[in-house]
Symmetry: C3
Subunit: 139 residues, 3 copies
């Protein structure tokens, strides 16, 4: 058994924008030479989230729209009173979505469906460069 | 440490229908003979999700109802324009719920609560046969 | 590779109240002496959830408020008819949030962001003493 800890650097898009990480994650798994195990992705920040999606132009609108309904930007947020920030809805979205994703691989290949991609979801009010943790555990 | 990769095949129920996987997952853990570790469940598809619930008839209605409020079927979804599909709400629900679940086991037994079951949640507009990935890592 | 299974005991706060577990989880990782791996947190109950958040007074209001919008307490829940309970919304919230959280650590330190804490979210209608599963896998 081996543990390999690495990172991904990505450019993100504000307000629910999604970034497809699938190829980069598969490359990191391939480089380890491991055959069976898990890749654990983690966002070290409280306004970003990880999930999977069929990464196509329609859902790149539908997912942010659904998140906006859950935490609308025109509501009052107590978080804004604490810091003078404007990203209370982003914190709410990220905590509800969750910062982690675990994907098994077998024979060196991620066990994703054909129409399923690994995505980072930027919940903050501005895009930025993000560093994500990628840890691979397997044999 | 051992990694054992397997699968479960289940029949699912449309529009938020839940399937109780607890006994099948415990059986797979038992068959490995491992005592301490995790079972990672993963749905290789973008309209299904995994979580836990008290699996009883009331919540089998309440959970789908809550998901319908989050992504109502009578809204417009850009996903429908992309493919002519009708399952935009299902994609939204599945991405928000997440495709993965990790449950620790100790002394060979899943660490679930007494009134807590592992469930697959079918977010698509039709039930189907699904294959889920089950990977067990432990010693 | 080692698997260490332990537990945390916490006092929780009703209706979306959050408890910061970060220091206790880091202490458990430190005690194992492991350098690279994951900590898997799991709530063995169907009305509690785990996630991360910027743990500050504002979001301690905003997160419960958002959960209340997703599963309002004044709706009808079929769960109440099953048991005569009043915690249907809590079950819905917990299933949507999910009972598990996986956080990688490297060089013995959790890979959290500076403004990011690990939290338990009590979704039930009363606070209580809870026991959480903490399993650490690494080398």
């Amino acid at each position: 058994m081996t543990v390999a800890t690495g990172e991904l650097r990505i450019e993100t898009k504000a307000n629910g924008g999604m970034s497809d990480l699938t190829n980069q994650v598969q490359d990191l798994v391939t480089k380890t030479g491991l055959r069976e195990g898990i890749v654990v992705l983690f966002c070290p920040g409280s306004t970003g989230a990880l999930s999977t999606v069929e990464y196509e132009p329609g859902l790149k609108k539908d997912i942010p729209n659904a998140l906006e309904r859950i935490a609308p930007k025109d509501r009052d947020y107590a978080h804004h009173a604490t810091w003078g920030d404007d990203n209370g809805p982003g914190h709410v979205k990220a905590t509800l979505l969750g910062p982690d994703l675990t994907v098994p691989f077998t024979k060196g290949i991620l066990t994703l469906g054909t129409w399923q991609q690994i995505v980072f979801i930027e919940c903050d009010t501005r895009g930025r460069e993000r560093k994500l943790v990628v840890q691979i555990i397997g044999e």
